[in-house]
Assembly symmetry: C2
Homo-oligomer: 184 residues x 2
């Protein structure tokens, strides 16, 4: 199956930070890129096979039989730069939360309120997690650190925006509930 440019970019990029196994790469993507990117096993291994075939990554032996460390070759770095330079694909958003709120009249104000509270909790948890990541990134003086910090900052701003929105949204829902009650 064809492997998309997007997936190749994530795989080459991940391996460019440090050579590792496919398994470790998947954990790396889930744990450090998870806030804004996702790849599944079913994408990663075919991508590794393709990139190896094209000489963009190479397999290094490990002590453990049946496993290998993948490292980006000079050609792979070149390819990564080309991929990164492509314009980001326009996103096709699918925000289940906002879709439900949009049709909130059918869902009911109480359920909407609960959805907002859930989003609030998630944003609080994200913010806590990001503060840990920020400390790590700030302690890291590698050349990658300043760029990684940009993505941490994006997560923080987004989470704080969610908290501020949740506050306003609960306000609207409360006033709306009060107005509905008056009509009854």
């Amino acid at each position: 199956m064809a492997v998309s440019d997007q997936t190749q970019m994530a795989v080459l990029g991940g391996l460019s930070l440090a050579p590792m196994t496919g398994y470790a790469l998947r954990e790396q993507i889930r744990d450090t890129l998870g806030q804004f990117w996702s790849e599944s096993f079913g994408q990663i291994y075919p991508a590794l096979a393709l990139l190896e075939r094209d000489g963009l990554i190479e397999r290094r032996e490990t002590v453990r039989s049946g496993s290998s460390i993948f490292a980006v070759t000079p050609g792979g770095v070149q390819r990564l730069r080309e991929l990164l330079a492509e314009a980001p694909a326009p996103e096709k958003p699918r925000n289940g939360l906002l879709l439900r709120l949009f049709f909130g009249r059918q869902l009911g104000a109480d359920a909407c309120r609960q959805l907002v509270l859930d989003a609030q909790s998630r944003a609080e948890a994200d913010l806590a997690g990001l503060s840990t990541v920020r400390s790590e990134v700030e302690a890291d003086d590698s050349a990658d650190a300043p760029f990684i910090l940009l993505t941490v900052m994006a997560g923080e701003h987004a989470a704080r925006a969610t908290l501020a929105w949740a506050h306003d949204a609960l306000d609207v829902l409360e006033r709306q509930a009060a107005a509905t009650q008056r009509l009854q």
Copy 2:
């Protein structure tokens, strides 16, 4: 082909606001839900066929031959409420901008700067568009309006967060460029 619950929800929801043709529904989804939802023709028509088969929507004749207005039936409203009550599917994020910035060391600080500036422009445009939408929603005294307002507010908070982040990010990139220059 199977039509996902998500698509059925968007289609039923859209038609619940007002009966319309499939074509108009697609425009409605693109123009009013576009900030947080997307559906393509290839999904909408099969969904309409399925929902009609199940008696959840009905086809009303129009003057124009070969076209029909679709309206939600009582059973369709019931189904919509069930779908809305399902927990939102966890998002699989794919933010091409943040992925590129994460590997910004390979992309280069100048290109990163340009990406941030582009995001800033888009956020400004979004904010301007949303202020128009907000006026419309505030003037609308239908029962749907307060819920639609919640999604408008979410868009506004997200856009303002992007602007604030862009400011900080340009700062980081500038300081980083200055630091790099000192080393040369």
